[in-house]
């Protein structure tokens, strides 16, 4: 099972997911494509610039392998303090 979290605008278009790694998916780019197919509104948001992805609470800058137990966070642009 993996956990997929969505923050900011992305959280408006998808609930957090707790799922088995979808058949045939091996990395985070694959997961992003799969999510966009499942949920068109999410696909539109994922296509916008400025989003970031964290794998197990570390920002990734290139597609990374998926493993059982991973936590993947899709994050809209930040706006603090």
């Amino acid at each position: 099972m993996i956990d997929i979290l969505f923050f900011g605008r992305l959280g408006d278009v998808s609930e957090r997911l707790h799922i088995e790694i979808p058949q045939g998916l091996t990395d985070t780019d694959g997961l992003s494509s799969w999510l966009s197919e499942q949920n068109v509104a999410l696909g539109i948001e994922l296509g916008k610039v400025g989003n970031r992805i964290a794998l197990n609470k570390t920002i990734i800058t290139a597609s990374s392998p998926l493993n059982d137990g991973d936590e993947i966070a899709y994050m809209s642009p930040l706006s603090g303090g």
């Binding site: 979290l5 923050f7 900011g8 605008r9 959280g11 400025g50 964290a54 609470k57 966070a73 994050m75 809209s76 642009p77 930040l78 706006s79 603090g80 303090g81």
Partner: protein, 150 residues
């Protein structure tokens, strides 16, 4: 030894109580600088909602604070950040720094705030009369942060 404290608060916090706790913690430091960010008073009917990524947000802020500790000789720092729904004039953020000389405390507080505003993992939305809009960093916040990389 540096007196450090970080808290992400679900409920409102009291900036003066935090200031006192910090002042007690840093003992004989000569200089304390405290920044308090409040929800602006323009829209009394406005609700500001902040969310964070538990665990991730905290460790990111700790990294930023460690950078400040390496850069300035600090007797301590204290950071509180609200999440959840809040109304006009409620505190959102409190950042205090203490040092022997005031310049270090000023610069470190300024630095921490610039990073919190532009890099810390918080998502902010405003709602009024049933409509909600997301707030993204101002260009000014990005520029402010760049001051520290030279």
């Amino acid at each position: 030894m540096t007196a450090t404290y970080l808290k992400i608060c679900q409920e409102s916090f009291d900036p003066e109580a935090e200031h006192k706790a910090f002042r007690d913690a840093v003992g004989g430091a000569g200089a304390i600088v405290a920044f308090t960010g409040l929800v602006r008073g323009e829209g009394a009917d406005l609700t500001l909602t902040l969310s964070h990524y538990e665990g991730f947000t905290e460790s990111q802020i700790l990294e930023i604070a460690k950078t400040a500790e390496r850069r300035w000789p600090l007797a301590g720092w204290r950071i509180l950040h609200r999440v959840g729904a809040m109304k006009a004039e409620e505190p959102i953020v409190f950042v205090a720094t203490a040092s022997r000389h005031r310049r270090d405390a000023f610069e470190a507080a300024d630095f921490l705030m610039d990073y919190l505003k532009s890099e810390a993992a918080f998502w902010k939305s405003e709602s009024a009369a049933g409509e909600r809009r997301w707030i993204e960093p101002r260009a000014q916040d990005i520029d402010d942060k760049k001051r520290w990389t030279k």
